[in-house]
Symmetry: D2
Subunit: 161 residues, 4 copies
């Protein structure tokens, strides 16, 4: 049973569309593996193009995926017509991002009318074993029509204004 | 006059080499614009391949660049033979990452034998105007031979162990 | 010349009153040393009652003071009638909080209609020498009448809802 | 069954002693409610002396308790003779700290030889109902004799050096 009741009956289509509009996700090879109200898993294969100096996936790439997992999870609980922005996030790197495949699991800790707080965890699958490699706590903000003529306009005017 | 005295006379070559070994930086089109002891500027052009759903650069990409700016800045002050790892960072997104070109400026706040704390700021240059779009505070860790037979081995064993 | 123009001509009286309503500040012996639009310095004397196991001031006390410095700095730029809440903050501890007297200096990095981001730095004065001991980045939220019948009511209903 | 195996058979006595040496905890009225390897619950009663401008417990006090919960949880897994320091933490405030009694629950996410990452959650008990009011992610550092002649000396020399 999902922990949260979505306000938007179309949450799945809307959240998936928002994800797919992000060209960065395609560039990084990140896809949605599971999507429930307030919970999202993303997946990414290893790519040498995304590595740091030791051959592991770069912490910034791990963070981009975690941020998106948090954003999509928060977005599933927002009302129809809302836009979404990341206010801030914090990542702890726990182990090298070494593996063939990576999973990014986010869930909403506290949904709110304006602000939603999410937590995410990144795992590396290496040789059949899964290791926790990073955690994120993130704050996401809903942009609704009260914030301007349209969420889009609100976004364009100012991220946190 | 630089604020910090590097322990490694070769800091410039070593930090540049570390940066260039990161294939993710090449994939994202990020380069070193300035490098001094404890201070680094990175630069990145706009690319539609790195955008989120509103056409701005994805917060995760901005974070990847800020993390690297902090890492290189910290690395310039580490002793010869050291490796470096990011322990954690925190990013606040202040304005949409809209622009033709982006600058990522990091400086060391507190260098330490084991841990170094850095701050970074990301700016978007749009139509001749520069806007602060994000801040980062990050903690970096030096891996020296005391941490294992070699920094490389220390890295491979465990990031924070 | 101050960097920011306050929206509330009474910002000084209002921010000071908000600070003085916080009984925790009196308990901890923290006072306002300087207050300008978007910038605040707080001061605290050493007290053995606030120490951790090594006799230094507890990191949580340092954080309470930094949080308040950030909150008051943000509050000086908010419109008349607004309430304020802390959304989140992040503290890095850089050196032991050892000294006779402590200063907490916060300034607004980005003021916004809803959200304001501040940075704070804590210094210990010990034997005439001042040492940077901690940094904070914090996100503060304005509660205005749009958020409910009154800021107070908004606060009571939900912090981030 | 505890998730972690302590390295110090005396972990309970040592962690309790470390907590009790912190005079700030006594001043704030915080006590240990439960202590297992890698897991700690602290408790605090409401006190008007610790409030902010709306009569709720100050976010900094909540943070001081969460920081200590994380620190004690991390400390239970450290080897005999180790000292401990907080490197950094991040707090999200989710709901007003309104209640008669507060609980602070921390658990180790990733223990390490040098660095340990913990997560904490703060709850307010109000009229028989428990509400999640804040989360923390914190990084703690072990100081062992390798860091200097004694942990104490290491602490006194520099927190993160």
């Amino acid at each position: 049973m999902p922990r949260f009741e979505p306000k938007n009956p179309d949450y799945r289509a809307v959240a998936t569309a928002m994800f797919e509009q992000q060209r960065a996700m395609k560039t990084l090879g990140i896809s949605i593996a599971r999507l429930e109200p307030g919970e999202v898993d993303l997946a990414m294969d290893y790519s040498a193009d995304l590595t740091q100096q030791h051959g592991f996936i770069h912490a910034g790439i791990i963070t981009a995926a975690l941020d998106n997992a948090c954003g999509v999870a928060a977005f599933t609980l927002m009302p129809p017509g809302a836009g979404i922005l990341t206010v801030e996030f914090k990542t702890n790197l726990l182990a090298p991002a070494r593996g063939e495949r990576f999973a990014f699991r986010a869930s909403v800790v506290k949904p709110g009318r304006t602000m939603t707080v999410c937590e995410g965890r990144a795992y590396a699958a290496d040789d059949g074993k899964e290791t926790l490699i990073a955690t994120m706590t993130g704050t996401l903000m809903a942009l609704t029509s009260r914030e301007g003529a349209s969420p889009e306009k609100g976004v364009r005017r100012s991220l946190i204004g």
